[in-house]
Subunit: 441 residues, 2 copies
């Protein structure tokens, strides 16, 4: 099932878009992530684009310029003229791969298409973004054993890691309607919380506001209700990955989550990065998947030949915080953590196979979250709950401010990238979101 | 907030559609539920209709016949020409109420519109249905304290009813993609289960297949992200109610559900009835909401003036089972239970207010489930899990067959209706679904 490296991954490739070649950009010609954009502040229809350096290539215009003439799919022109990626996702990764190859050829140094495509570029600095797809269903997994163990200790001190964890890729359904794209601002949620030793709940703004650093997955071609997607075919049903901040109100969560899971603690907002990096672009960054020797091996429906050698992805995940004061005084966002998706206890393929093993149907544009990606070391924790040990150990910043949980006006910025010797570094861009004060109530 | 009775509820009203007046139909002129239909077996576009007796009135044709001339909304014509109810739902209950009044006038005995509308009728026996709306997000609540207590005893013998239950209308997010309309057939799900005293999970078809008898709610006009819907306004945001069968694989659920709630145990299929009965049609059947004297009163955001006198709805809920053998031998479906929505510990208004108190946005066509509606007596239990005491006490049918959980080929039929002295009985029709054998694996 592994995507093989091909000419689109060649490290020597450069683009005629000069900013794609500076060695710093998240978007060299080896990346080519898909997104949905328009001119900022305009009332234009949103349209589909691909990031290249500091520019966006408008794919509808590129299609009209004829660069996809060799892609053999009669539905492609309509899919590229849409205002979301759903139709393109639904064509399957085979078509997406042909589109990628055509883009790679057309954007290379010396490409004859350059002249026709110059007018199809818009600077990212002049763009605004929409969600890449209309998300039908959103499922959030819980694949970091380090996160599950740390959080389990706080919610269930005597029983941190439940007996199903090493067998079942635990997941639950999330809320689609409140997912927004980077730049989302949202009010501090209001709700019920139960203070320690109280006999009746409090009602008011949540006090323990947190983020969760996750990898997001967009489903490409789905499956029919009743069919399962085999684990060794699963990545063919994943269009690509992005970054996800799954905002959480920990005090609401602690009171409401039993027995049916988190609800109002999570569904007030979730924020994702605008660019979807395809599975093909990530092929050079596959890496080993490992379990402790004492851990059970995955059941056959979750096991596949490439799992142990290259089932995981080496993607660095950085989280930064910027307070209102930092913004005012010009202080840059401060790093909270740096982790890596390779620590995930369950792989992308395993999540998809597990989700559909019972016949549940996935649809193009459906969205999966990986769960908070905390690494094995304390400084790799993907949430404030973990970093501050449940709010007991403040984080102190260089300007003297400190935090245990988020305060109004705080922004969280997440970045992701993949790099290794012999490959060109690719990035996910950023996802940024800001907490606003609670509504009056 | 209470919908007052008006001329559409008058018990003396009869329709020129004779079958609406037989005293037996679920769909007298006082009901007028909305649905989406087409001629069975055709490739027609689905369209919007209203049930009247044993007929369906095509609302696009009715609109073209001019019967909504007095409804003052410029978007109505497009909404009625659509193939789902989302656009009509989004216009709000004020518009829906005007549409209902116009329908009541046009379908009454002696209406001048009769001549123009005869051609806009199609027999229900010749129709097939689609989901009433494209469901964006689906949320399932857990509002029967009798169900929560019985099931809690089976999953957590030492801790059946959790301390949050009497404060928080517990809910969680469900799966939209696998919701189907009455007639849905689905395969027995395959998955992991953990047998008692085993050290590793089993993998195979679920053995403890169950249904859950619920009331479904379709959201009408929604709310913006960050805003809350006040509890005394909440019913203005509910377009209407239907029946919901939330199929459940109990053995999968028992192994997977901690700590984040049910997932594969529920998301393989959920089935709803095709007709949405409006809140206005249900106005005569409002009834008292009660708590035990020792129970806490609801927090202010869940309390409202009409709550105790008429916050609940008196809706009978009947569940029947028909095995393959019964179908073959012509034995009618056998009743499993009869319960009533009035036993719900939380009301429709409280569910909507709670769902949005944190700013979560609801959208037209979103769907809420009430959770299994078990009443206080054992024969009012809304699932096999409860009726058979966790699979220990078989149900024996008149043809000699018996069940603890569902077997392949079993159909579950649910019916709902409301009746009281001084009002015309209205019904929900039925929701039927059938369990097929597991896929090969």
């Amino acid at each position: 099932m592994t995507v093989q490296l091909n000419e689109t991954h060649a490290p020597h490739l450069k683009s005629w878009v000069a900013s794609a070649n500076d060695g710093q950009t998240d978007f060299p010609i080896q990346n080519l992530p898909f997104g949905v954009f328009r001119r900022a502040g305009s009332h234009e229809h949103f349209r589909i684009g691909v990031a290249i350096g500091d520019q966006i290539l408008d794919l509808h215009l590129a299609q009209q310029a004829g660069i996809f003439a060799e892609v053999t799919n009669s539905a492609l022109a309509n899919a590229l003229a849409a205002s979301s990626l759903n139709a393109l996702m639904n064509l399957g990764n085979g078509v997406a791969s042909q589109v990628r190859l055509a883009l790679s050829k057309a954007l290379r140094e010396g490409a004859t298409a350059q002249e026709k495509l110059v007018g199809a570029l818009i600077a990212q600095s002049e763009a605004e973004y929409a969600l890449p797809a209309q998300i039908g269903d959103y499922t959030d997994f819980y694949t970091s054993i380090h996160h599950a163990t740390s959080v389990g200790k706080l919610f269930r001190p005597d029983n941190p890691l439940l007996p199903n964890y090493k067998w079942v890729p635990i997941g639950y359904h999330g809320r689609s309607s409140s997912i927004g794209v980077s730049g989302q601002q949202f009010r501090r949620p209001v709700g019920q919380t139960m203070p320690p030793n109280a006999t009746a709940p409090n009602f008011g703004p949540a006090k323990r506001m947190d983020y969760e650093c996750e990898v997001g997955m967009f489903i490409g071609q789905g499956n029919a209700l009743g069919d399962a997607i085999a684990v060794d075919q699963a990545e063919q049903h994943v269009f690509g990955l992005c970054l996800l901040n799954d905002w959480s109100a920990r005090d609401v969560q602690g009171w409401e989550y039993q027995p049916l899971g988190p609800f109002l603690a999570k569904n007030f907002a979730s924020t994702i990065s605008p660019w979807v990096v395809t599975m093909e672009a990530l092929a050079p960054f596959r890496t080993q998947w490992t379990r402790d020797a004492a851990d059970p091996q995955p059941l056959p429906y979750l096991d596949y030949p490439d799992l142990r050698e290259q089932g995981a992805f080496d993607i660095e995940l950085e989280v930064l915080l910027q307070t209102e004061k930092m913004r005012a005084e010009g202080t840059a966002p401060q790093r909270l953590s740096l982790s890596n998706f390779r620590h995930s206890y369950w792989t992308v393929s395993q999540m998809v196979a597990h989700h559909t093993v019972n016949g549940c149907n996935l649809q193009a544009g459906d969205f999966l979250g990986s769960g908070t990606q905390s690494g094995p070391r304390p400084e790799e924790a993907g949430s404030l709950l973990e970093l501050t040990e449940g709010g007991k150990k403040p984080i102190v910043f260089s300007n003297g401010e400190q935090r245990v949980f988020m305060e109004d006006g705080d922004s969280i910025i997440m970045r992701g990238w993949a790099q290794k010797d012999g490959a060109v570094r690719i990035g996910f861009g950023a996802v940024e979101g800001r907490l606003l004060p609670a509504r009056s109530f």
